[in-house]
Amino acid sequence: MTETAGPGAAPEPSGWVKSWRWLASLDLTKPPAPVLRWLGIVFIAIGYAAAGAPTQLGDWLWPVILAGALILPDIAGFAVGGFRLDLRQAQDDIATLRQEVNAQARASSVAGVAIGDDAIAAWTDALIRAARQATSDQASGAAAPWPPPGSGSRARQSTASPDRT
């Protein structure tokens, strides 16, 4: 049984697109790519030697470009004048940075879990309960001076020291 694409499905990519995607997915730093690349360079050198060394400077251009493209994945960096691009170092830095970002993201996530919805809900509930009682009692209005008449409470300044916590 074959499945047919629905009306909203993306169109099938063309052969060129497929080829480009396959090429882009290749990792030229992993075997056997390095061996093949260096073999290519050797073949270019042999071919040029067999044909005779070029005498014109322009004749060196294409083999140099080709050899450069083949050797590019193995180049650790460039240094031109005062400008230096350290590709390996940049890759390592990016990898380190990615690890740090991920570690921070995990830490933030753990902190969120540590606080937890339950704890926040409990705090909110406790404060709402206290605030409701306070506002409700406050709304009943000032009714009587202290001590209430007939209460028998001691209307004096106490020497007791209640906890002010």
Binding site: R129, A134, T135, Q138, G141, A144, A160, P162, D163, R164
Partner: protein, 152 residues
């Protein structure tokens, strides 16, 4: 300063009367705590509903089971200098205190969220200049009238 400087809300008075009937020892402890109001300020507790210039203060009586005394400076139009607002169940008071302390260590976003929920949930008091009159509205923002000349 006289004891008449301290007033009780109707709710606080009723709670105190009930406490005298049911637990005289706790009532004595609460009485002592209220008597100390004029000597020194209690500990501030940030609950919504209090007039902006007169935040709630609290004293815990020496009896650990006695209710906490919630009070504040009297606002404009209220009699006396101090108003005992409420006698709060000790467990509720402790829970609110713990929540307040825990929130202080949380990120501002969490704190703002909880405070916003609490402020939006409870009624806000709207004190009118007429003595002894306190109306309650359920709008989001408190519209309070306080006395700026009153010492804090």
């Amino acid at each position: 300063m006289t004891m008449a400087d301290i007033w009780l809300t109707t709710a606080a008075e009723a709670a105190f009367s009930e406490l005298q009937a049911t637990s005289p020892d706790q009532a004595d402890a609460v009485s002592d705590a209220i008597n100390t109001i004029i000597a020194a300020d209690g500990r501030r507790i940030d609950l919504p509903g209090a007039p902006a210039a007169e935040p709630f203060l609290a004293i815990e009586p020496r009896d650990p089971d006695a209710p906490a005394v919630l009070y504040r400076h009297a606002a404009n139009g209220e009699p006396g200098k101090w108003l005992v607002v409420s006698l709060m169940n000790r467990e509720d008071y402790r829970a609110a205190r713990q929540a307040e302390q825990a929130l202080a260590t949380t990120p501002p976003a969490v704190r703002d969220l909880v405070n916003g929920v609490v402020a939006g949930t409870v009624a806000t008091a709207n004190l009118t200049p007429k003595a002894g009159t306190v109306t309650v509205t359920h709008s989001g923002a408190a519209s309070t009238t306080t006395n700026p000349d009153k010492p804090s």
